[in-house]
């Protein structure tokens, strides 16, 4: 089955991609919302959206059917925190739009026009089952890094699912360095920028009056106004336990803030406080080294302990390679399942672990209703896997995004095919393409 499906998927890319109506039957069906897999399930996608998924779902007449032959069928992976689309080669600066350290703007930056859907990392991540990603800017010259987006990894030119889906800011050591050398400066700068934005919102003419003494520029103020009123979620990188507590306190002065914690390496120490604040957390879950003094309490049990305390925990791939290796999300989630078998450790059940790389990050960015699971109404992002998707080396055999079947061929495949026999033949390898 795998070979014929791959061929058919490859054939499809030659055509203009169009949303197909498709029913995938005989699936080990994972909805992605934390529920258990459904044997012999069916998912029906029409008009680019999931219309039904479960056992005993009727397949509409005249619709294309794909028999999954009992394999895992899941929603596509949602990369919880990434730079996919912003980077081709990290160390080749012209191809790396992650950060803008020399710009005079900050919160107003919008990564949408920097995204490159034709970049090879998009294809490689898609071939590993990632269909959506939360993409954040890396940094600016100021405290606020700018506005990230939710993107799809489809083989087309339109990558943005939701522009300006988040504002990103780093507290802790990075934030202190940006703000002038102390966490005290971070908190003051944060507050002053938000207050300036609020003044500007009430009286836009004020900005002109402030002139060169302005704490903020118009574009940055526009963006921060949407943070203050909760329109734009504020993703905050923070790791040290007490820093987390202090970030949660920001809601006292700015009650509409929609906080999302990124990293939260010592989150388990203050798990109850995070749960009480109902603030979701994105973790890089296998972080277990005291890489800095703000990560002394690092443990792979962080995700499990947070989840046990009632925190919404998403699993991401960052502090690693955040542009090329989004496919590690499944491996990391699988490791959390493994931790449930280690005495004294905390992990996640398989169902929770899968949700932590699909519906939970979608919820963190406020898009649970439209992506991240196979519940009716969600985008038709569906993956058929050759094996348990959380196991090592499992790969998609077919991927749909918004109901469109996707190419799974990458530049890496082309290289590997060329060098399956490395010696030059009758002509040099360069003629083999």
């Amino acid at each position: 089955m795998i070979r014929s499906l791959l061929l058919s998927a490859a054939a499809l890319v030659a055509l203009p991609a169009a949303a197909q109506d498709v029913a995938i039957t005989n699936a080990k069906l994972v909805i992605g919302d934390g529920s258990a897999p459904i044997e012999r399930g069916t998912v029906v996608v029409r008009g680019g959206k999931v219309v039904a998924a479960g056992a005993g779902v009727a397949v509409p007449a005249g619709i294309e059917r794909v028999d999954a032959e009992g394999r895992y069928v899941t929603p596509g992976i949602v990369a919880a925190f990434s730079r996919v689309g912003l980077v081709e080669v990290d160390a080749v600066s012209g191809t790396n739009d992650r950060s803008a350290p020399r710009t005079r703007f900050s919160a107003g930056l919008d990564i949408a026009p920097a995204l490159n859907p034709m970049g090879s990392p998009v294809a490689v991540n898609r071939a590993s089952g990632v269909t959506r990603a939360i993409v954040a800017p890396g940094g600016s010259s100021n405290l606020f890094a700018g506005q990230g987006a939710v993107v799809d990894l489809a083989d087309d030119m339109d990558m943005v699912t939701r522009p300006r889906a988040l504002q990103y800011v780093a507290f802790g050591e990075d934030g202190a360095s940006k703000a002038g050398g102390s966490r005290a400066a971070t908190f003051l700068l944060f507050r002053e920028q938000l207050l300036a934005a609020r003044s500007y919102a009430r009286n836009p003419a004020a900005l002109a009056e402030w002139g060169n003494d302005a704490m903020i520029q118009r574009a940055d103020a526009d963006a921060l106004v949407r943070v203050i009123d909760g329109t734009t979620p504020l993703f905050v990188r923070v790791d040290r336990a007490v820093d987390i507590v202090n970030v949660l306190k920001l809601k006292g002065e700015f009650p509409a803030l929609k906080l999302v914690l990124v990293g939260a390496t010592e989150g388990w120490i203050v798990a109850r406080e995070i749960a009480a604040a109902k603030v979701p957390v994105l973790v890089s879950p296998l972080t277990d080294l005291p890489s800095s003094f703000e990560q002394l309490g690092a443990t792979q049990s962080n995700a499990g302990r947070l989840k046990a305390a009632g925190v919404d925990v998403s699993v991401g791939v960052f502090d690693d390679d955040d542009a090329h290796k989004m496919g590690y999300a499944t491996q990391y989630a699988g490791n959390l399942v493994g931790l449930t078998r280690v005495p004294g450790a905390s992990g996640l059940s398989w169902d929770q672990a899968f949700a932590s790389i699909s519906s939970v990050p979608a919820r963190a960015v406020g898009m649970e209703g439209s992506i991240g699971s196979l519940r009716p109404g969600r985008a038709g992002d569906v993956v058929i896997w050759d094996n348990d998707p959380l196991e090592l080396g499992s790969r998609p055999t077919m991927v749909w995004i918004d109901g469109k079947a996707q190419s799974l061929t990458t530049r890496q495949d082309r290289l590997r095919e060329r060098y399956a026999t490395p010696q030059e033949g009758a002509l040099p390898n360069a003629y083999d393409w």
Partner: protein
């Protein structure tokens, strides 16, 4: 990788040792008695003080064994005694009465993982500037520096590699800022007050070399050679030529001034020190092979080697190992042509295949990296069994480090460096349950006190946590 080089550049304030020929008392005798043979320098001035820790005579039964050399035993038995593998076999293997016996039903037993490429201790956690000791980035050739003089034994990364990764031995290399970065050292992964207490007894030294982007960027950025790949080769060749002349003088019985850099290189030319060459691109590896022949040394292993698949036939013919990641790519230009089938393609060509980490996190799951590589191979019809894939993790790195006669596989008489896994180690759901080093139980998931806690972690948040 990249990180190490960046960090070291910021912190490159130490004095260069280059040119400081240490003319100490060792050479004095040569001038006192000119008719005598020239002084022999002590080749082991910082000797290993490692001694195996006490262990019990132990047997594991009913366990699936990968012996590290490609063999597999179902329902197997292994007996560890006096720090050695005493016996290995099937269910009828005799075991003495009154010894500790573990039931391995549903579990797997393997030789300990050996990481041929680590910077634990010389780029330790916390990765503060004060700890950035992996690149003596003050001269493009520093064969005189020894990584063991940078290793901080209190790096918490050692215990993670033990408890989560089942790593029992590892090579600590200098970084890749320099063409010749210095000597490496092979360690037993045991906690110790001193690096000497970790040194693998009798393991040969290595010389870290680096191709490509890093040296030319680091030194080109300082306005000096090398600033190009051709500059890399020119500086290397000039240095080898000098080393060859130094060695010839010594071989001819002439007195030489003591030169720590030349001693290392002469050791390479004599075959006593093994070359570990950071090199990504296939074309550069081919040039390095010619350079090694030009000056009469041999490359043990190309490290990172993301393009080994393009010249796997040449590497097989030359008998050079490739130490590789499963799927790292794209972080720098010379890592752009990485493919996930690199490891299985090298294996298929009959070349020596090793999975390495170069990373304090991935060293904790090299078994998982091997599993991903194996799966990538299967998808293109290269079927590698579990037990054969384990050779990438223990026996092959042991061979490349010159310690395969003592560890790396479960043969009677070899060091009892052993991991008991709580399931198939090629599953994401599996972790080490027990790790023995020379027969001593150094980690036990069932006993919180059998988990080492470094000095740095004492009295800190999470002391003694499961990690």
């Amino acid at each position: 990788m990249i990180k190490g080089v960046k960090g070291s550049l910021l912190a490159a304030v130490s004095l260069a040792l280059v040119g400081c020929a240490a003319t100490g008392k060792d050479t004095a005798s040569a001038s006192d008695k000119p008719a005598e043979k020239p002084a022999k320098f002590n080749k082991d001035p910082y000797p290993s003080t490692y001694k195996p820790y006490p262990g019990q005579v132990t047997a594991v039964r009913n366990v699936t064994i990968f012996d590290g050399e490609g063999g597999r035993i179902e329902n197997g038995t292994v007996l560890l005694a006096e720090g050695k593998v005493e016996a290995i076999g099937g269910p009828d293997t005799p075991i003495p009465a009154d010894i500790a016996v573990f039931d391995g039903t549903g579990k797997f037993l393997t030789p300990g993982v050996i990481d041929i490429h680590s910077h634990l201790g010389d780029y330790p956690s916390p990765s503060v500037d004060a700890h950035s000791d992996g690149n003596e980035a003050t001269s493009p050739t520093t064969p005189e520096v020894w990584s063991e003089h940078s290793v901080w034994p209190q790096d918490p990364g050692f215990s993670r590699a033990l408890a989560n990764g089942g790593v029992t031995s590892l090579q600590i290399l200098p970084g890749s800022a320099n063409l010749m970065g210095g000597r490496s050292i092979t360690l037993k992964n045991v906690p110790s007050r001193t690096v000497q207490g970790m040194k693998f007894p009798g393991a040969p030294y290595g010389l870290k070399m680096a191709c490509g982007e890093n040296p030319k960027r680091v030194y080109g950025g300082k306005g000096r050679a090398p600033s190009t790949r051709m500059g890399n080769f020119a500086v290397n060749r000039a240095t080898w030529a000098k080393a060859a002349a130094y060695k010839k003088k010594m071989d001819d019985g002439k007195a030489v001034d003591r030169d720590l850099a030349m001693e290392t290189l002469a050791g390479v030319l004599a075959g006593e020190i093994l070359v570990h060459n950071h090199c990504y691109r296939a074309d550069e590896m081919a040039l390095v092979i010619d350079m090694s022949k030009e000056f009469g040394y041999k490359v043990s292993t190309f490290h990172h080697a993301v393009e080994s698949y393009k010249i796997a036939d040449i590497l097989a013919k030359e008998g050079i190992c490739s130490a590789m990641w499963a799927d790292w790519w794209g972080f720098k230009m010379e890592a752009y042509d990485s493919v996930p089938e690199n490891i299985p393609l090298v294996y298929k060509a009959g070349a020596c295949t090793i999975v390495h980490s170069d990373d304090a996190n991935q060293i904790q799951r090299l078994n998982q990296e091997a599993a991903k590589a194996r799966a990538a191979g299967r998808r293109i019809g290269i079927d590698v069994s579990d037990e054969v894939a384990w050779t990438w993790l223990s026996y092959n790195p042991a061979k490349a480090l010159g310690i395969a006669d003592r560890t790396g596989s479960l043969k009677p008489g070899k060091m009892a460096d052993v991991v008991l896994w709580n399931g198939n180690p090629f599953s994401a759901y599996t972790r080490p349950e027990k790790v023995w080093i020379d027969g001593a139980l150094m980690f036990d998931a069932m006993d919180p006190k059998r988990r080492p806690v470094s000095d740095f972690e004492l009295g800190q948040p999470g002391e003694g946590d499961v990690k």
